[in-house]
Structures are given as C-alpha cells and as structure tokens.
Amino acid sequence: MRVLVVEDERKTASFVRKALQAEGFAVDVCHNGDDALAAARATPFDGIVLDIMLPGRDGLGVLRQLRERKNATPILLLSARGEVNERIEGLNAGADDYLPKPFELAELVARVRALTRRSGENKSTLLRVADLTLDTVTHRAQRGEAGIELTAREYRLLEFLMRSPGRLCGRMMILEKVWDYDFDPGTNLVDVYIRRLREKIDANFESKLLHTVRGAGYLLKAQP
C-alpha cells in the first residue's frame, strides 16, 4: 500500500509519515499543492492524505484537478478549520473522507486504512469474529451457542467493529459512524457503550474479543 501525504506543516507531515509507515504503508510526502498534483500523476497511490490549507494551490483545488482528470484515488481531507460547510464542500468535490485538525493519530491511521481497503470491505450479511457472529439481516448476535440481546445502538456499534475486525477504531470515527455525530461531544459515551458491550460479549468467556488501546481506540479481534 502506497500513500501520499500532502501537508505543508513539516512536523505534522513527519509524524503522520512515521505513523503510517509503522502500520506498513509506503509513504511519500509533498509540501505543496503543485508537487502533489505532479506526484499523483506520476505514481498510482492507494490513498492520499490531503491538507486543505496549502501554499499556492490549496487542497480543494488539488482534489478538483484530480477528479477532473478522472483520478479516483481515495482521498482523506485534513482541515484546520473543521467547519461543517467545508466538510460538505470537500465531500461534494469528491473527497472520500474528512478529518478536522487537531486529529488523533490513531484516528487518522484508522481512516487511511479504511480508505485504502474500502473495496475489500466485508459485505456479507453474517459477520464473524472467532465464535462471535452477527446477522446483519435479523440483527441477532451470538457467541458460541449463547444468544446476545443488543439494543439498537449496541447493535450498530458491534456491527461497525465487526466490519473491520483486527483494525483499530478511533473514538471520533465511532462517534461519526455509529452515532452520526459530526462534533466531539466531550462525553465518555463511547467508553460507556464499549463497557456495556464488553459485558455482553466477553464477560462470560475465557478469550476476550473487545480490546481497548489506551489513548487510541478500540478493536475487535480473536487474539489479544
């Protein structure tokens, strides 16, 4: 997987590069819009992390140019403004995702991963992680032989985690996909729901499936 990071702020570019490299991505970095356009034309990337505020041609300009040239590389927009209008503008211009600054690194990595594997997403109606299954048609969850009762919100949270097993899911991403919140509510809503979900799917079992990564997020996987 090869990713292009377009960010004029050197330090930000540097730790984003390090974090993505640590996750096994090959990372190229550009510091302005024109270089980014040239790089995207020369190399087929699997994803682009694009800052909106760039010297010269800005991120939205780069995005529009790429889409005009029928370049469909998945793009994650970064913005220091974090405005709802800007988010809509970006997504309308053809961005695949949007992350306002200051972001959490784990969040960014999780989103880039989701972006680059979007086509390979699990579309099946029966999701399975170890002996935990979730039927997305009947909304029935089962661990081993035991059925699990879930509220609507718990179901959505579990479905979201099970659609990307073994992958770290950031708090903001969960709030966005499960709650449809476009703001950070500053509550521990996600932690409390995760705790409840954990009681339901892990409490009576030897092997735990739902894990917390301190300062980063949550993931569902068979082995700790």
């Binding site: 220091a80 974090g82 709802v84 200051p102 703001f183 950070d184 509510p185 809503l189 409390v192 300062g215």
Partner: protein, 356 residues
C-alpha cells in the same frame, strides 16, 4: 438653526402673544371706565379702581399665566422631542446591531451633532467587537497546528514499545489533557465563528421528539455508572425546523450536564411538551444547584457554577454557551432555574414547525 435660537424665537413669540392679550384687556377696560365716567360723571374713583384692579387681575393675569404654562409646555415638548427620539434609538443599541446607524435630522443643530457623535462611537465599538471576534477566531486557528503536532508526537511516543509503564502512564495522561485542550479550542472556534455569523445551519423539518428519545437512551447509558436514574416523563410528538446535528449537540450537552452535575444516586427528569406554538423541553436534575447570584452568568464562556465541583468534572466550560448559541440560532430561548441543594431545571423553548 441652533436650539438656542429656536428657543429664543419661539419663547419671544409666546411672550408677545401674552403681552398682546394683557395690553388688549387693559385697553378694553380703560374704554369701559371712560364710558362709565361719561355716563355718571366723576364719582368716588378710588372705590371703582380697586374693583377694576381685581377685575383686571382675574381677566388678564389668569389667562396670561395659563397661556404661559401651555406655551412653555408645548415649547419644551417640541424642543425635547428629538432628544426623546435619540434616547429611544440609543436604548435599542445591542451588541448585535452595533453596525446600525441612528437616522440624523441633517439640520446641523446640536442634536444632529450628538447623533453623529453617537454613530461614530457605536461604529468604533462595533469595530472593537469585530477585532475581538477576529482575534479569538485567529487565536483558535493558530492553536490548532501546534495542538495537532503535540497530540501526534505524544501518540507516536505512546506507540514506542520500549516505554516503561510509568512513562507510558505519563504520556497517556498528557494525551488526555491535550484532548481536553483540543475540545476547548474546538468549542472556542465554534463560538467565535457563530459570533461572526460564519456558521451556516442546515435547517430542515425535524421530529424533535425522536431526537429527545434518542438522547434519553444515551443519557441513561451515561447515568448508569453513577447510579443516576433518568426518566422521560413526557414526550409529546412535535416537529421543529432545525439543524439535526446542532439539535443533537444541544440535547447531548444538556443531558451530559444533568448527569455530570448531579449527586450519586440522583435523578434526571426530561419532559418535552407543546406549549402554545413552541416545543418546550425541560431537563431537571437533583444536583447541588447554582446559587441565585451566579445564575445569570451560567451561559457565560468558561463560567463555573460550582468551583468546588470543577476539578472532578471534566468539562470544557463552554457547553452551556454552545447550548445558548444553538437555541438562539434556532429562534428559541433557554433559561435555568435552580433551588440550591435540591433541583436545577433547564428549560429550552424552540418555535414549533410543521414536519413537511
């Protein structure tokens, strides 16, 4: 023409009128006496003169005084009318309409000059307000880049496998504080933008009761670990015209506050009902409450109602300011009532709309 000249002119006119009446009456009386003399010859003149004097006084001085008072009253009212107008106009000045100009008469008198000075003053004030707003907006933008770097570096440090547990704990705790700072900066940016009128609401018909029920479910979950009971006592079906995301933010902020500023094993009661042409939501909790003298300030930015409780409660100090902005942006109103150590009730009123 200045007010002084005008006053002079008008008052001399009135005095002339009074003088004419007095002189006229005296002349008429003189005529009557002469007639009398001619008919009856000269008699005891002094007797007659005393009576005449009284007559003259009654028939001339009383109307003259009345005329003077009426004229003076009319005169001052006429002269002070522009001052009253100006006072009314100045009274209407608020932070939101500082840019509006008070209409000038254009006749160059003292009051016209005063209006001009007022307009210039409010223009300078408006300018200062804009500068403060821009400063807050720029400051919060400028803070975002270093915050991104700090958060990123700390997260990168946390990924280092060679960290000892105490080091890891320190870095994680630093990250928690950085996130708190991030939320403060986010809230500040939102409010600064709202002040500058830069936040566009996406208004659409929304079933408010659906949002309230949804929020009730989240509130129950938030309250559960603290042993707090949440109750949705009334939830009438009602639609409002609003921005779904902002309304949910409003509800979550209020529910979160009601749970956070509560006592262990406390209660939260939510009610949504139609009241006239408004949707009225009340959220009451059994918290320590807010003392009356602090109540008017609870919507102020970074205001803490109960300093003794703030260290344990992890808020950004902007929640209620954001609530107030969301409510007023929807044309509604919000108020808080509190009986210390008993209950605190937040009441939100939003104009009801149709669901179509």
């Amino acid at each position: 023409m200045t007010i002084r000249t005008r006053l002079n002119l008008w008052y001399s006119l009135v005095l002339c009128g009074v003088a004419v009446v007095v002189i006229g009456a005296a002349a008429y009386h003189e005529l009557v006496i002469e007639k009398h003399h001619r008919q009856h010859g000269v008699k005891s003149e002094t007797e007659l003169n005393n009576e005449d004097l009284l007559d003259i006084l009654t028939w001339t001085v009383v109307p003259a005084v009345l005329l003077g008072v009426a004229g003076g009253w009319w005169l001052t009212r006429r002269t002070l009318a522009p001052v009253t107008e100006l006072t009314d106009a100045v009274e209407k000045i608020r932070e939101s309409n500082l840019g509006d100009k008070i209409p000038r008469s254009g006749n160059g008198d003292e009051l016209d000059r005063l209006t001009e000075v007022f307009n210039a003053t409010t223009a300078r004030l408006a300018d200062s307000f804009t500068r403060i707003r821009e400063f807050t907006l720029h400051a919060s933008h400028e803070l975002k880049t270093p915050l991104t770097v700090l958060c990123g570096e700390t997260e990168t440090a946390l990924r280092d496998e060679s960290l000892t547990p105490p080091e890891r704990e320190r870095a994680a705790s630093q990250l928690d504080e950085l996130r708190r700072l991030t939320r403060i900066v986010d809230g500040l940016t939102l409010l600064a933008k709202a002040d500058a009128g830069q936040v566009a609401l996406k208004l659409e018909p929304v079933w408010f009761d659906d949002l309230v029920r949804d929020n009730f479910a989240d509130a129950q979950i938030l309250a559960e670990p603290l042993g707090i009971q949440v109750e949705l006592a009334v939830c009438e079906k009602i639609a409002v015209r609003g921005d779904r995301h902002r309304l949910r933010q409003l509800l979550l902020n209020l529910a979160d506050n009601a749970v956070k500023y509560n006592q262990p094993q406390g209660r939260v009661t939510m009610r949504l009902r139609r009241s006239g042409d408004a949707a009225e939501l009340t959220i009451a909790n059994s918290g320590p409450g807010i003392v009356p003298e602090k109540l008017p300030r609870v919507f102020d930015r970074f205001f803490r109602g109960d300093p003794a409780h703030s260290p344990s409660v992890d808020g950004c100090g902007l929640g209620l300011s954001i609530v107030q902005w969301i409510v007023s942006a929807h044309g509604g109103s919000v108020k808080i009532e509190s009986v210390p150590a008993k209950t605190t009730t937040v009441m939100v009123r939003l104009p009801a709309g149709s669901a179509e």
